[in-house]
Amino acid sequence: MEIETQERDGVIVLRLTGSIDSSSAEEVGKTLDQHLAANTSVLINMAEVEFLSSAGLRQLLLTQRKADEVGATIAVSSIQKHIAEVMSVTGFLGFFQTFDTEDDALANLG
């Protein structure tokens, strides 16, 4: 799992590459949590995430809860269709602001 971080238009963009499974979810969570603070916006770009297991779902949910606690805004963009389907049938998709592309997200968050 690789995580690239860039600030764009006042939004912290985290671009994830690889698979989020039980062996990598914790590392992803730690990285995401580092960027959560009051009045910050964090975008998780999942364009290069080809696999997300239940461990990944769990981690995203915990991150969203933490963001709500500290007053940060989280959004997720570019979710591959099979992952989006799994997030949808489990009811997780509705917990996040989602956008088709990183640029769409920045236009709304920035």
């Binding site: 698979s19 039980s22 239940s54 779902l57 099979h82 799994v86 009811g91």
Partner: protein, 151 residues
């Protein structure tokens, strides 16, 4: 396709997924059916590693093999860990539960069982044998997906 044997640790998950991905390709499954098969394998393997091995303090391996015929694709994971039948751990998972009260964990078995058509657990001597089965549907093959796309 030949069986594989991997260590019963989380580091082995990617090897198991790659193996099952290759199985799906050999069976001619389309991307969606292939993703379901890989997801099921990952979730069942994770349960074996966490519950049959780590929680029980046992080290061991997971053997994975596949049987493909005209009707079905059967993937079997066998381990030497403590007794663990995934079907007995399927939790009630209300998918309309809101964020604040949603149980963050426990979704692995739900996803695994909902990604496959059949699941069979057997305790064979000191081994857990988890077999999950996908029945081939007309819309699961690449050719049919291409036909749908072309319409």
């Amino acid at each position: 396709m030949k069986a594989i044997r991997v260590q019963g640790t989380l580091d082995s998950l990617s090897t198991i997924r790659e193996y099952v991905q290759a199985v799906a390709a050999e069976a001619g499954l389309n991307e969606r059916a292939s993703y379901r098969l890989v997801l099921a394998a990952d979730e069942f393997a994770t349960n074996i590693i966490l519950h049959a091995y780590q929680e029980a303090g046992i080290d061991g391996e997971i053997e994975v093999w596949v049987q493909i015929d005209d009707q079905t694709i059967r993937v079997t994971l066998e381990d030497q860990g403590a007794y663990f039948d995934s079907s007995k751990h399927d939790v009630e998972t209300p998918i309309d539960e809101p964020l604040e009260t949603r149980q963050p964990g426990g979704w692995g078995i739900y996803l695994a069982l909902n990604s496959v058509d059949d699941y069979v657990y057997k305790r064979v001597k000191d081994r857990n044998r988890n077999t999950f089965i996908i029945h081939r549907h007309p819309t699961d093959s690449d050719a049919d997906e291409a036909a749908v796309t072309a319409k």
